[in-house]
């Protein structure tokens, strides 16, 4: 019995604290259904492609140097530490700036972090529909010159394998918080 307790205690360092550290969504939201185009040019229906999987969804754009790469780099670094969970997680990045972000560029961008990350984009209407379905305020492309900025939701939405959005992760989420929460969410089937 003591041996078992010691083993559990020793493993405890890597086990989740039991409580989500992200911003909890209560009651949990439903996974949205929308279809966009992936970096291979194929149609990708979000709900069916990610069914039964821990899924992270983020809307951003490639000209954004401050928020988007940092969010994705954080997730990729945590994935290196929890490879078993990483293998079962679908990370979906949606570019809300199709005029500048081609499929090839989105693929190259995502491959910098993890070549398993899925990249999607679509027409302005499809993107607005997807963001609305996901419950985020649709991005606004500003009219401030050729290097225009895009205002967009800064948080990552997390859906557990049970298909529900249990928490969202604003910019500034630490790797330790991702590490904790991904392990908890992975178990919610």
């Amino acid at each position: 019995m003591l041996a078992v307790a010691l083993v559990i205690a020793a493993c405890g360092r890597n086990l989740a604290s039991g409580e989500l550290q992200g911003v909890v969504v209560d009651p949990p939201g439903d996974k949205p259904s929308f279809t966009l185009t992936d970096t291979e040019g194929e149609a990708y229906e979000f709900a069916s492609e990610t069914e039964g999987k821990l899924t992270l969804l983020y809307f951003g754009y490639l000209n954004c140097p401050d928020i988007c790469p940092v969010h994705l780099a954080q997730i990729a670094e945590v994935f290196d530490r929890i490879p078993d969970i990483a293998r079962e997680t679908e990370v979906v990045f949606v570019s809300v700036d199709p005029a500048r972000d081609s499929h090839e560029e989105i693929r190259a961008f995502l491959d910098r972090f993890d070549n398993r990350f899925v990249g999607l984009t679509g027409t302005e209407e499809e993107l607005k529909g997807a963001q609305t379905a996901a419950g985020v305020p649709p991005a606004v492309l500003n009219d401030d010159g050729p290097n225009y900025t895009v205002d967009h939701a800064g948080w990552v939405l997390a859906y557990a394998p049970d298909g529900k959005n249990h928490a969202i992760y604003p910019f500034g989420t630490r790797q330790s918080e991702w590490n904790n929460d991904l392990q908890i969410l992975a178990a919610r089937e």
């Binding site: 000209n63 140097p65 401050d66 790469p69 940092v70 954080q74 305020p137 800064g154 630490r174």
Partner: protein, 146 residues
């Protein structure tokens, strides 16, 4: 006469030691390796004397540089506001960090992690100041991480 000469040389040496008479310190200068067309420079600036303002910056490693602030509004939408200047209070500190302020490198060149990039900052009072920033992985641009 000789003493005056030595004093002159000493004064010139001290004046030449820093670009800005030691009034301004810039530390922890880092650029997240660009993953798209643009990159971001972050640093901490400390005034050891009077107030100053950062007006602009330039580097050979990008077409131009712009000062931006990332803002979050009530519904969580994040936006970048271009700023004409960033004020540094007297005996104060400003921290440029992800999610806050940054100097955007517009149309940045390819950079390798570990590479050192020179950037010339223009301050209202201190004038031009050249700093060296290290290129880091975007995830490592955050000052603190758990």
């Amino acid at each position: 006469m000789r003493t005056a000469g030595i004093l002159m040389v000493a004064l010139m040496l001290v004046a030449g030691c820093t670009d800005n008479d030691g009034r301004l310190d810039v530390t922890n200068a880092r650029i997240g390796q660009p993953t798209g067309p643009n990159a971001a420079l972050y640093f901490t600036a400390t005034s050891n004397g009077e107030a100053d303002s950062l007006l602009s910056a330039r580097t050979a490693a990008a077409e131009s540089m712009e000062l931006h602030e990332t803002t979050t509004d009530a519904d969580g939408t994040m936006a970048m506001q271009r700023l004409p200047r960033l004020d540094l209070p007297a005996d104060g500190t400003i921290v440029l960090e992800p999610g806050g302020h940054h100097l955007m490198l517009v149309e940045a060149q390819r950079m390798e992690i570990g590479e050192k990039v020179e950037v010339t900052l223009t301050w209202e009072k201190a004038g031009e100041m050249t700093i060296t920033a290290e290129v880091v992985d975007p995830g490592d641009t955050l000052s603190h991480d758990g």
